[in-house]
Amino acid sequence: MRRARVLLLAMAATLAVAPPASAQFDITGSYNAIFHEDQPERIPGPSLGDYLGLPINESARAFADAWDASRLTVPEHQCRAHSSPYILRGPLNMRIWEERDPETQQVVALHIDISNFQQRRTVWMDGRAHPSRFAEHTWMGFSTGQWEGETLVITTTHIKQMWHRRNGLPQSDQVTLTERFTLHGPVLTYVTHTDDPVYLTEPLVKTTNMLRNPRPLPPQQLLYPCTAVVEIADQPRGAVPHYLPGQNMFLKEFAAQHKLPESAVRGGAATMYPEFRANLR
């Protein structure tokens, strides 16, 4: 009897502090990136020819095999930003704030300032539809959000072509990005689920953690000016640095350095799963 009363009291206390199913957590504030996960890929960057663990198809592989990092010397490529499926993996500061209808005090949108490439995302929370397929695409895309319990779920379309991995593995402009933000104390856990019908055979799922900053970010920590310049004086107009098939001499370096078979480094959905390790023996 006494145990039952304790249980009832515990349940009542839980109900008193737990939010309802439709609860919305306040995730506004400033955040900093932390790099305990996937650090080699996120900071120094991936090696050329390292396609491990990505569910890419043969077209993505062909695109990356031809990609020459010198393309980033071309002025029109220099200030390209990371797109929304990739950008929050980088070294960055982030500030989230909400926009409310002054009349009803309903949340209309969440805004996210990202220091990396000084991007601003707007996540519409008012149930509006995504734009026409003929509308323009942007680095951050068009986002709508909703709360699922304690998790903010964001769906983004209309994203520009960019990369899934910054060694040339392409991300198409047909992706749909689904993101889940969950706050655990000061840690914001961020899970992305990227569907790319052009270059991926399965969704690409990534997780990242960020740390809440109790202090507001000074303005200079959210700025990222970029101006394209001529890096190669005699580069001809319209230059597109690339390798013809079979001529990219860097593709085998990663496999040789890490003593990995070609079947692994060439990537594909199978290389994402633990069972693949049996192929390496």
Binding site: S59, C79, A81, K160
Partner: protein, 326 residues
Amino acid sequence: MSSLRVLATLVATVAAAALVAGQSAGLETLPVRGQVSMITNGSSNVLLQAGPQGVLVVDTLAESDGPRLLEAVRGRAGARPIRYVLNTHADREFTGGNAAIAAAGSQLVAGNFAGQVGQRAVDGAVPQAFVVAHENVLTAMSTAAAGRPAAPFAAWPTDTFFQAERTMYFNGEGIQLVHVPHASTDGDVLVFFRSSDVIAAGDIYSTFGYPRIDVARGGHVNGVIEGLNRLIDLAISEQFTEGGTRIVPGRGRISDEFDVVEYRDMVTIVRDRVQAMIAKKQTLEQIKAARPTLDWEPRYGATTGAWTTAQFVEAVYRSLAGGGGK
């Protein structure tokens, strides 16, 4: 009676919903920037510039689209007079509605010429908008070719030019018609609205597929690449290669400079691959088998329809195999 009222209410509701969504008679209208809007039938696009002097229409969809395009133009621009139709090239999917749109318009004329072309006493105008295009568009439309008769006389351009560039000033902004020789055809122009900061790219740029190159009508892959580079030269991004000048392809979605950069890169790389294989004396069939477009096949490729991957590769090959480039 009651059911009639319900039906009328339903029709009115559906019509109102369509207007909110920017749809008229099955065509979709989207604002682009400044005075310029885009109208699409889902396959090819029209640009509409509307202002105090009247209406200017770039391309007119297919002939069967003419009446509903006119309805969409009226839905966006109201009763303002249609003064100009501009054609980016001669393709019937882009010029078929010329007659319907031009006939619904009017143009101001003066002098002895006015009486000869049917000047109206009421407003001093002639009952026809001017149709402006490169002279090679007139040649293509007035000539039977490939088993097709010439386009109807009423659809032909009435005002042509042969220079590298023609300029106009309408509705308070400068408009440049930039001829790109030997691109999709021999008559392509880019139409640049300088104040609105919008460019119509015609068939040189598409987000639906590979660029269409009609080698028999003077098209060439190098001309397409030059056209894409001209677009990049003209466009100015706002920040991080995004925003700023908007570029509307002949087919597909509204774009900006970087979208064109990625597309230019694709066409350039395919051209270089085919050129390298030609240098190795490979045949067209060997080149097709090597899949020089593999990287973009899921995005732009097609095995059926009016413009397939095989047709594109063959057009690149035919452009280059004759000795290398215009």
